[in-house]
Structures are given as C-alpha cells and as structure tokens.
Symmetry: C2
C-alpha cells in the first residue's frame, strides 16, 4: 500500500480532519471536484476518492476541468488517466475567459477566477451536484486573508465551507488544513506530475508577492498558520470593533 509514504498519510489525515470538523461531506452528497491539472486539485481529487472508504459515507465524486481560450498547449492525458485510475468521471468544459473581456480591459487573476467560478457553479447546479470541491490549501487561505487585510481593508478569507444562498450548492475546500509543502511532498510520493502548462499570467500575480511578504511573519513550522486558521474559524471576534462591551 502506501507504507513509508509520510506526506501521503499526513495529507489524508488532515483532509479527513477538515471534512469531519467542518462538516464538508454528508451521506448522499453529489460532489463536483474542480481540477485544474495542477498539484493541489489533483491531490485533492485523489484524497477524496481515497477517503470514500475511511469516511464510510456514500457520495458521488466527479471531476471537471475548465479549458480557457488563452491556453491551447495543455496535455490533459495524464490528468484524465490519473482520474480514471481513481474511478472519477471527467468532464472538460471550455470557457472563453479572454473572449469575455470587455474592450480595454486587461487580463487578471481576479477576473479569470470569477469567470471560472461562475461556470463551475452553473455546471454543478445544472447537473445536480450539491457540493463543489476546490483545491485551495492552508497557505492559499492565509495569503487571501492577508491580501484582503492589507489591500482591501477587510477581514475575509476563503472559508473551508461556504453555503450559497442563491444556489442549492455548498463550496467546500477539503485541503483547508493542509500546507502547500505537504501537498507537494504528497504529489511526489504519489507520482503526480504537473499535467497542465503554467498560467501565462500567473507569474506576476499579487498572491505571489504576498506570499513573499508574509513568509518572515509566519516563520518556520505550521504553528502560526494553524493559529491563524483557528482565529479565522473561531467565531469569537470580540475586542475588534469600537464601542464593544467587555468583561
């Protein structure tokens, strides 16, 4: 089996913990997993398929990939092969992200992800899924928190679970407790290679810059990241606003 594969065991354990603590998967769920072909979402697809037995819950799991109009070089063969090996049906959905840009507007990560998200939600609802699983991990969640805090001036991040009001759908992030380094190690142990090209716009993203800026703050080890996650999930947000009553 996976004897000696430490990262793999750890990722499975942390994902199971998140699923149970955050109530991410229930009996009878129909889950659509968004897979870009990158390490994060591919590892998520694997671990969700693998946890079916451990969870002792019956749920449907299918994968969807969005192909954009600014990338025609992707070889999705390896991705399809991996997913098929794990028993996951696969759907490729073309979305002309560039083609939808209004005149004079330039491409950016926020716009692109909004377009993708909209299409994922539409597809999920139209096809009877009640959960949309995304491969965001602990580092993504923390980076998003700091981007919102420092650039937007808001206390926001990507929650492990978000129930939409407009749609009969919940967005879930099963890797919310897993650090990126653990996912990379897991992908290595599992022999998962990057099966898509690198986004031509991603190199200059604000996320990358924020990652470098928060690194000295977080220091070494998972402690500070876990404490931030706890703070964001705690529900105890006293002592923040002015005029609060205490003691």
């Amino acid at each position: 089996m996976d004897g000696g594969k430490k990262a793999l065991t750890l990722v499975r354990k942390l994902t199971l913990k998140a699923i149970l603590e955050r109530n991410l998967i229930a009996e009878g769920d129909r889950i659509l997993a968004g897979v870009s072909g990158g390490k994060d979402s591919t590892v998520m697809a694997w671990v969700l398929s693998d946890l079916k037995q451990a969870l002792k819950r019956n749920f449907t799991l299918e994968a969807i990939h969005i192909s954009t109009d600014f990338c025609s070089c992707c070889q999705k063969g390896a991705l399809k092969q991996n997913l098929a090996g794990w028993g996951l049906p696969f759907q490729d959905l073309p979305v002309p992200v560039m083609g939808r840009l209004k005149p004079g507007k330039t491409m950016n990560c926020y716009w692109c992800s909004t377009q993708r998200r909209t299409e994922l939600i539409r597809y999920a609802v139209d096809h009877g899924f009640n959960k949309l699983a995304l491969g965001h991990h602990l580092d993504d969640i923390i980076e998003t928190f700091f981007m919102n805090l420092l650039q937007k001036g808001t206390l926001e991040t990507m929650p492990a679970r978000l129930d939409y009001r407009k749609y009969p759908l919940s967005l879930i992030r099963p890797l919310a407790y897993v650090e990126e380094a653990q996912i990379i190690a897991c992908a290595g142990e599992k022999g998962i290679l990057r099966s898509v090209c690198t986004c031509p716009f991603g190199l200059h993203s604000g996320r990358r810059e924020m990652r470098a800026r928060i690194k000295p703050l977080l220091g070494e080890g998972p402690g500070p990241k876990r404490r931030i996650l706890r703070a964001l999930s705690g529900g105890h947000w006293d002592y923040l606003d002015e005029g609060l009553t205490a003691k």
Copy 2:
C-alpha cells in the same frame, strides 16, 4: 501658535477624527488619562487638553501616573510640570507590581500591564471618572492584533473604545489613528522629552519582536496600517467562519 509644526497639527487632526468617529468623548465626561511619562501618553494628555476648545464639549480631564516598585529612579518633575502647564491635575499612585508576584513567578509585560490596568480602573471608578484614556497608538493596535493572531490564535486587538460591563467606565484610546512616528515627531515639535526611565524589563518584550516581524509586511506609508484598522473596525466579518452563507 503652532504655525509650521506639521506633526503637531496632524496628531491633533487624527485624534479629533478618532474622537468624533468613535464617539470617545461626550459632554460632561470625567476623563482620567493614564500617563506613564513616556512620549505616547504625554502627547495624548497634551492633545486632549488642547482639543477641549475644538471639541466644544465640557469635560473634566485629570492625569494619573502609576509608580511601580521596580523603578525608583524616575524624575517625574518634567511630567508634572508639563501637565500643570496644560491645566491637568496630577495624581501619583504607587502599585507594588513586583511585590504582588507569586513565589516562583517571573516578571512579564502582560502581568505588569494587568496589574496597572486593574489599579487604573479601581482608581477611576472610586473617584467618579467615567472614561479612562490610554495612550496606545495605531502601531500598538496593529502589533497587538498580530500578536494575538500569530501567538494566541484569536482575532483580537485593543479597540479605540471599550465599554466595561462590570464597571461604569469606558476605556478610550484617543491616539488610535495616530502612528508612532507621528507621535515622536509631535513630541519633538512640542519639546516633550522622555520624563521617566526606560522599563528594565521592556527590552525583551514580545511586542518589540513582533514589531520587527510585521515591518516587511506593512511596507512603507500609512496605507496598509489604515486598511488593517478599517478591517478591524468594520463590523463586516463574513467569509471567516466555516459554514457561512453567502451570496
């Protein structure tokens, strides 16, 4: 008057803004200002006394200093003279912080500030004050936020105003919008010199370390600090907890 004294004008303007926006001072308030003798609380005492006219509100303002048992070297002459010049009655309250340490316990900033706070609250309530003003500034508020976030795993900071439930007292921080550098510049323009000795324990405080760690994150200029303050004061804390409902 204070023509050409830019920092002084700015500190006064930001303090007035905080007082009005956060509803820190009302007609008839009896305000006790905690003054350590350091630049922050001394500048606060000055600006509060100076703003009486601009605010067009009648309020009583008195100053209190806590003398601890681990410092006997302080010359409070300059402090008393400054406060007298600004029309503020001054009270010196001895608190044996060291003497209260239980056997085997060592001195730390948290313990000391808790002891001081307790005595300040007691004195204020006993003497009929309804507001206790402390000299914490924007950098203090942001450092506290990050210390709680990274070390305690909570979303907490020192609010600009806190109404105690147990006591008929509100704690106010009139310098909540002012950066430390602005206070230093203001103290320079105003000719306010440090009038107490440096705390013998303060050099190794966690706060000092956190300050260095968040510096690269905040970068230059007041923008990120102001956005953090806005986030902490916003009252819009969606997208934080798991299971939240959105859109």
